[in-house]
Symmetry: C2
């Protein structure tokens, strides 16, 4: 017997309640029955996103909504500042470039957060910038950006701020309406606790206004069709019916726990993980660590890829390694969605065992004890 | 108690076996475990599509793959013949136009099939056409087009043939490699018996060649990234993990029944339905009827919308009404995927009851008897 423990930053474990809801008889989507569900889902999504703006639902993974956040608002030749600093910041740049948007890159060193002052300077140096793209949590490095400060700068300009909160939503604090974030993009397989297959995009009035003059081509991710359908509690194309049923269930779970409580649970698990690995002599990679995922430097002399592989294949605990240039150099433990104190303790216990096997000097239970202390 | 009977042309009922497979513990997608599943799925999809070409899997609904079939191959200003004649033919034209492709429309009267000779003439009259877009089954009218004849014409030219087999796949015969169909597009929620959320696109060598010079912008539906990932038993972006698990199960079911048997089951149910409604004095709308869905003219004096609504709300049998200009004028009964003889009999029995309630002269059991005769 080998229990499967999923502590990766997406997909994340799906609550049994949601699995069973999705396994119920499938119903037709163009019916009052389904539209009643969709209407409720739309209302609950606003509460989760902390916004009064519409939150559109696409049948796609998160990258689809990232594409929607480019093609919906910009025009060919427009200038956009893209805060890189990880795989997902870079993805925004790739999408912009694919559609002929001029990217003004802000190359943040991987592991560091964006400096709001640098964003301010880029805006001053490049008049006419239409949009700024940033991640909330940059999943590949475990950094959470200071979106509040960045939004404070951008909201005084004509540019819109687009935030990839695919992994950050419900883990790291974000208040789009209060702070002035125009577009928030997310996905189903992270804090929302569902399988991948749904993507989300909230749209402010300022962004909707900009969309009116956008000339980038689009169809499946087209904003006009999506907003028109949304107004009728519908979707432009066939929705992911069963995933939306599951969404109805998990949104109820999140709102019943209370978004504040969900956020503090993520903060508590992330803090315990950080302190536990520090107690083992390890170093946190992210300079401004997210509560969605903790990135840890692989200590000298330890094979980072072997660590992740042994965790998965021998301990049954799936964590993530580093991506791109960070391959083998960091490992990442998520605190995302349907994860609790004992999942976190299991992950730390597994890390201790595997580090020891790989020749790193570990006093078994030292990290676990630290986590217990902080979690109890 | 009201049992829910789904006889719409998508979504279609999902076998319990697949529901349970999708309700199993979710696993991470960048693992040897998942890639082994994906590898098997890719092989089985080729058997279902009757092609040796790669069949790409997108996390989206069918419209997403339709978009992929435009942006992957064409360039701005290219000419494409689009066989309209229903809502989905028109969708191809809309996508082409959204991306600046010049559409040469072939406006087939709704309910009639495309005339291969007319396609031939359009090709002659418009030198340099790059692609021809057609539906196999045009779901909105219930017509199946003669793709074999159309492919026979196009394969002699430099143009590629793209076929929307979203609803037609596994219901209406199609042999892409034998006939010369370059690109076949489909979705998960029809004959494949899954919830919506996966879309498919097969790509011939001729189409891949054309893709090399395509300049339409794309990212999420980009062919290059999809093919590169496919070669490594992977997907470019996060796949719909649980739907792909379900796909593995339903593909086994289809291949175990045997594709030929699946096709003849659809043919048998469709034929019985056509003859049953004719026995009630009704008329088939489609001049060349598909085996995926039977479209029936609403008889004079009967309210077509009320018929569909009463079937759903009072009889628990979900069929489809007409779309667009056909609203209220036809109703559509599917024979698609996980549907059998007694589902068909239930649908016909319900139609008889509701027609009688709506004032149409019906001898109860007359249509059902005809179906029994043909199905037993």
């Amino acid at each position: 017997m080998r229990k499967y423990r999923l502590l990766s930053p997406g997909p994340t474990p799906v609550p049994e309640k949601a699995l069973l809801r999705m396994a119920d008889t499938i119903i037709h989507h163009r019916t009052p029955q389904f539209q009643a569900v969709l209407k409720g889902v739309f209302e609950k999504l606003k509460k989760l996103f902390l916004t009064k703006n519409p939150v559109l639902v696409f049948a796609s993974s998160g990258t689809g909504a990232m594409e929607a956040s480019v093609v919906s608002f910009l025009s060919k030749g427009d200038k956009a500042i893209v805060i890189k600093g990880g795989k997902f910041g870079e993805r925004f740049a790739e999408i912009c470039e694919a559609y002929g948007v001029e990217v003004i890159p802000y190359d943040v060193t991987w592991g560091e957060p964006a400096d709001p002052k640098a964003v301010e300077k880029l805006l001053k140096d490049n008049p006419g910038v239409k949009a700024v793209y940033s991640t909330l949590c940059e999943t590949s490095t475990g950094v959470v950006n200071d979106i509040k400060a960045i939004a404070g700068i951008i909201k005084k300009t004509d540019a819109i701020l687009v935030v990839d909160a695919v992994s950050g939503l419900s883990a790291d604090e974000m208040k789009p309406d209060e702070w002035g974030v125009d577009v928030v993009v997310s996905g189903s397989q992270k804090g929302i606790m569902l399988p991948p297959g749904l993507a989300f995009m909230s749209v402010s009035k300022k962004a909707e206004k900009m969309a009116e003059t956008s000339d980038l081509p689009s169809y499946y991710f087209g904003l006009k069709a999506a907003l028109k359908a949304y107004a009728k509690n519908d979707t432009a194309w066939t929705p992911g019916v069963s995933l939306i049923m599951g969404l109805d269930t998990v949104l109820d779970m999140i709102l019943q726990e209370g978004l504040d409580n969900v956020l503090s649970r993520h903060a508590r698990l992330a803090n315990a993980t950080r302190e536990a690995v520090k107690a083992l002599g390890l170093e946190i990679f992210a300079k401004r660590p997210s509560n969605a995922v903790t990135s840890v430097k692989v200590p000298d002399g330890v094979d980072g890829s072997a660590l992740v592989k042994k965790m998965r294949d021998e301990q049954g605990v799936t964590i993530a390694g580093g991506q791109g240039s960070l391959k083998g150099k960091i490992f990442r433990i998520a605190h995302l969605g349907y994860m609790d104190e004992y999942d976190t303790i299991a992950a730390i216990a597994g890390i201790e065992i595997v580090l020891k096997q790989l020749g790193y000097k570990v006093e078994l239970g030292k990290g676990v004890g630290k986590a217990q202390e902080l979690l109890s």
